[in-house]
């Protein structure tokens, strides 16, 4: 799904995946086919909905969306802190993204799952790791929208 983010020559932070851009403000990027299908991938070879060949025009994706479904992850690989909330967020462009949900209490989400459905959320960022070359690897997450 994701491919490794483009590496630059500067020593600055790098996005964790190619469909996430840090500049000018952190946002997701994708592409849209004439048939209406939107992909969280700026470099699609073709459209898997209608079969049209690419390249498909690139689009910026909004930083606000709504939670469709979620799960609370209690067991993961070593080094990944649990529990945390994983969610599928629907974005206005008609594409969905897999993401961690910040600022949502995992226990509360399990008690009252219906309060998470359609929760308006917005994109936020955090440094998720440091790569072998010493760059900060920046990931995105979503958190409840402020307004």
């Amino acid at each position: 799904m994701a491919e490794q983010a483009q590496t630059g020559t500067d020593g600055g932070p790098r996005p964790i995946v190619a469909y996430f851009k840090l500049d000018p403000k952190p946002h997701l990027v994708g592409s849209r086919c004439a048939c209406g299908a939107v992909y969280l991938d700026p470099n699609r070879v073709a459209c898997s909905k209608c079969g049209a060949s690419g390249p498909l025009p690139q689009i910026d994706i909004s930083t606000k969306g709504k939670v469709y479904v979620f799960s609370v992850i209690h067991q993961s690989f070593p080094g990944i802190k649990t529990p945390y909330v994983s969610a599928i967020v629907d974005l206005p462009e008609g594409v969905s993204v897999r993401t961690s949900l910040f600022d949502v209490d995992p226990e509360q989400a399990q008690k009252e799952p219906q309060k998470i459905f359609d929760l308006p959320v917005e994109l936020t960022t955090y440094v998720a790791a440091k790569d072998r070359e010493g760059h900060d690897v920046v990931a995105f997450a979503f958190k409840p929208a402020q307004n």
Binding site: M1, Q4, I73, S76, F77, S86, I88, R98, A129, V137
Partner: protein
């Protein structure tokens, strides 16, 4: 296409066999199936081997290097959790096409105590760019947890309904000597066991393990030659689908749409309806998966899975239920050695249709039509309908 019959079946008890090799496990199941069929390896014209974790290691040939190097064509297949059922379908096609008269399908797997499963699709070389746990979770517990949550969102289904599926599965498994786990659990046990990925608790997730299963398939001519009057099930439908484009499939694998399509095609191919199915073995890798597949396989209407459970749906008739599902114990109890699972389902259906001793304790009465469903994430779905 010609009629194809399941002449013989064999499986070993699912469990843990750290002292054995994958080809040994596969060979053992194959020998049981050959004996059950009343044939020898010399009668087999083509062999399809299903294995996932050693997909690059010529498992099929290594099985023949154990049981008989006759020089026949061997095809090694992989299709995630649908690996074994895809091998069975390819063995079916080999005979149905008219090219071969006798084929062998073996599914085998050795997983040990491999924990959370999910392929690394990121293709990254520096682990700093791995997205698991950083951009949510793409592992199976999350994918199937969310499938349960979607049902909750749409229909108000409760965790208790999903947990009841695991109680049923474990109850069924007590009657299956081939099952990895044969212990009963209470609703309270299931609901209060350790949470893995909400809403699936530990007992609502299938275990990992080792196992193998095999089937010999034949044309009508060879059935007459080898069956000696024994009734053998016909493969009335053998369907394979991949995930069609749906709006969220690339962010979160859609396990329902390809299953629904496969079910529709399978019912058409077999000329039967869901009301004709005496028993179903479906892909309950998680309790939430079984929940959504009741509807996907038309065992009940959309949004009716909770009601279906409350009214005994899926439960063995001997336990007061109807429309029995996973009387073998299912993946939740019987186990899920990935490559073996799909062929083991075929064994289970066959045993009920032929009143085989191996299903004696859990025989579904008057079983004439059975359905086996498997889904491999990424995604592949098989449905086989056997009739007698």
């Amino acid at each position: 296409m010609r009629n194809v019959y399941v002449l013989g079946t064999g499986m070993i008890k699912f469990g843990r066999y750290p002292e054995r090799t994958v080809p040994q496990l596969g060979a053992e199941a194959a020998i049981i199936a050959l004996k059950d069929a009343g044939v020898t390896i010399k009668d087999i014209e083509i062999f399809i081997s299903g294995n996932l974790f050693q997909a690059n290691a010529m498992v099929g040939q290594r099985i023949l290097q154990q049981i008989g190097q006759t020089g026949i064509p061997v095809v090694n297949v992989t299709n995630a959790c649908a690996t074994g059922s895809t091998a069975f379908r390819e063995a079916y096609i080999a005979v149905a096409s008219g090219m071969y008269d006798v084929s062998l399908a073996v599914g085998s797997e050795q997983m040990g105590k491999a924990g959370l499963l999910g392929a690394n699709r990121d293709g990254v070389t520096d682990p700093a760019y791995n997205t698991e746990g950083k951009l949510g979770s793409g592992l199976m517990p999350a994918v199937f947890g969310q499938a349960g949550i979607e049902h909750m969102r749409k229909y108000g289904t409760t965790l208790a309904h999903m947990a009841k599926i695991s109680v049923k599965s474990h109850k069924h498994a007590t009657k299956n000597p081939f099952s990895q786990y044969r212990n009963e659990v209470t609703l309270d046990d299931v609901m209060h066991s350790r949470m893995i990925a909400y809403p699936n608790t530990l007992y609502m997730c299938c275990p990992t393990g080792d196992g193998a299963a095999a089937a010999v398939l034949v044309s009508e001519n060879k059935l007459r030659q080898f069956a000696g009057g024994r009734k053998r099930p016909k493969v009335a439908a053998a369907v394979l689908t991949s995930d069609p484009w749906t709006e969220r499939d690339l962010a979160w694998p859609d396990v329902s749409t390809l299953t629904r399509r496969a079910a529709k095609q399978a019912f058409e191919m077999a000329g039967v309806g869901p009301e004709d199915i005496a028993l179903t073995e479906l892909h309950d890798c998680f309790a939430t998966a079984e929940l959504v597949h009741y509807e996907n396989l038309q065992l009940c209407g959309d949004g009716e899975a909770a009601k279906f459970i409350d009214e005994g749906g899926g439960m063995h008739p001997a336990l007061g239920g109807h429309s029995p599902v996973n009387v073998s114990g299912g993946l939740l109890s019987k186990g899920h050695p990935l490559g073996a699972t799909g062929v083991a389902n075929i064994c289970e259906i066959t045993w009920h249709l032929t009143q085989d001793e191996r299903a004696k304790e859990r025989q579904v009465p008057d079983a004439k039509v059975g359905m086996a469903h498997v889904i491999g994430l990424g995604s592949a779905c098989t449905i086989h309908i056997l009739t007698i």
